[in-house]
Amino acid sequence: MRLVRILILTIGIAVAISGGLPLAKRGLSVVRAAVGDSKPEVQLNVTNARPREVEESTQQSIIRDYGRAWQGMGTALANNQMGPLNENFTGFALDKLKQRVKDQQQNGLTTRVIDRGHKLDAVFYSQDGSAIEVRDTATVETQVLEGQTLIHSDEAQVHYYAVLTGAEDRWKVRVLESSEK
């Protein structure tokens, strides 16, 4: 009889832990995303890069700067700030994201991007080493808030095409476009 009790208690604890851990993890990631301090995990594969091979040092820079760009975008969209965008984006990507922040501000919306990592595949690296294009398979949770009210939430694996160009001290994202394919 005692053995059965212990067994039931053990199962109960196991169920509580299995349910509670992911919940706590999720809660933590939401908090992190809200304050914008989570640097996403980025992996880069360069075997398909053409017409030039990607140097080791460039690979490290791309991993660092693409991660920073997503972190900056997360902060910008969560707090409706332009600053983090200017540091990491340029060209069309910057124009579009600034417009998004402006529109969010106007309509009382914010977006939390809970970033669960990126798998990058370099598909183009220019002969002169000034531009690189990557195909990104990103796992992201997107939450749209109206004021403090959550009005949409989804988690998905999304494909992005990103073009990065060399700037003064880092690579900046010039094009960032999600695609269904």
């Binding site: 124009d95 998004r100 309509n107 183009f124 002969q127």
Partner: protein, 287 residues
């Protein structure tokens, strides 16, 4: 009879309920394209938000009413979220907007200045965009042409992941080369300055000898394909004699470099430009 009436009433009720439920659903076409209008069934009505990659659209809608989004408004391709608030609960749905047709090219041509007659030194990269600056991922044919004077080279490349590129050799003739990337309705032009390459057959002669000085001068300096080497290029004259070595760096002026050296007997004068060596002259003993 009562039974038949019962079944008819049940069917009508179900049909009305299904219709009402369908009307209350958020309905978005699955073939939306950037720059083209879009009709959305906003269900029970309320406030409709369309949250796109680079914009947010907000509309107040009445229940059962369709919302028309114009092509000018729907500018960004990518993943969008449609959210309807109020009118019987919140609803949201993810939908995709494809890029429009290729209408713009972002063209990078490198380098801006290049020596003539060098293989594979010019590279052209074209990123293909639609009219709203969305990267067009579908393969698109981009025509590249490089022309200087009457020399003309053309190449067609198909874009992959939104980018097409070519490498090309520089032409044998110096001048401003027009490097053009084009789609059927758009052309982007870049200028690449093709300059003479290293000098070829560098030759000098003595043109004057008086008062202990000797003046030497090159023939017009040209590269191996006959292009005049630009003025300002350095030509080095070196004289070696019993007292030591004298070196004069002279710039090419009007196609010719000239230098004045001490006229020592049995001196040897040589000429060079960059890595190219020219002829040698011996003073006091003939050439």
């Amino acid at each position: 009879m009562r039974r038949i009436s019962f079944w008819i009433a049940t069917f009508v009720l179900c049909w009305v309920a299904a219709n009402w439920a369908h009307g209350a659903e958020l309905r978005i076409p699955q073939n939306a394209t950037a720059g083209q209008s879009l009709t959305i069934g906003a269900g029970a009505g309320g406030t409709l938000y369309l949250v796109g990659p680079g914009q947010v659209i907000k509309r107040k809608v009445q229940g059962g009413e369709d919302v028309q989004i114009s092509g000018d408004e729907l500018r960004n391709a990518g993943r969008w979220i449609a959210i309807v608030r109020g009118g019987g609960g919140d609803q949201s749905q993810v939908f995709w907007v494809r890029p429009g047709k290729a209408e713009n090219v972002n063209f990078l041509a490198r380098p801006s200045r290049v020596p003539v007659n060098k293989p594979g030194v010019i590279s052209g990269v074209a990123f293909v965009f639609d009219k709203s600056q969305n990267l067009v991922i579908d393969p698109t044919k981009v025509n590249f042409s490089l022309s200087v004077g009457s020399a003309h080279a053309e190449h067609t490349a198909t874009s992959s992941n939104g980018v097409a590129w070519v490498t090309s050799s520089s032409a044998p003739k110096a001048g401003a080369a027009q490097f053009v990337a084009s789609l059927p309705d758009v052309q982007v032009r870049r200028v690449i300055e093709q300059v003479a390459s290293d000098p070829c057959n560098l030759k000098m002669k003595v043109i004057q000898r008086e008062k202990g000085k000797v003046t030497v001068e090159t023939d017009p300096v040209r590269d191996c394909t006959g292009n005049a080497v630009p003025d300002g290029t350095i030509v080095t004259f070196t004289q070696t004699d019993s007292t030591g070595r004298s070196v004069v760096d002279a710039r090419i002026k009007k196609g010719i470099a000239r230098a004045q050296l001490p006229a020592e007997s049995n001196a040897r004068i040589s000429v060079a430009s960059g890595v190219v060596l020219g002829n040698e002259i011996r003073l006091g003993g003939g050439q």
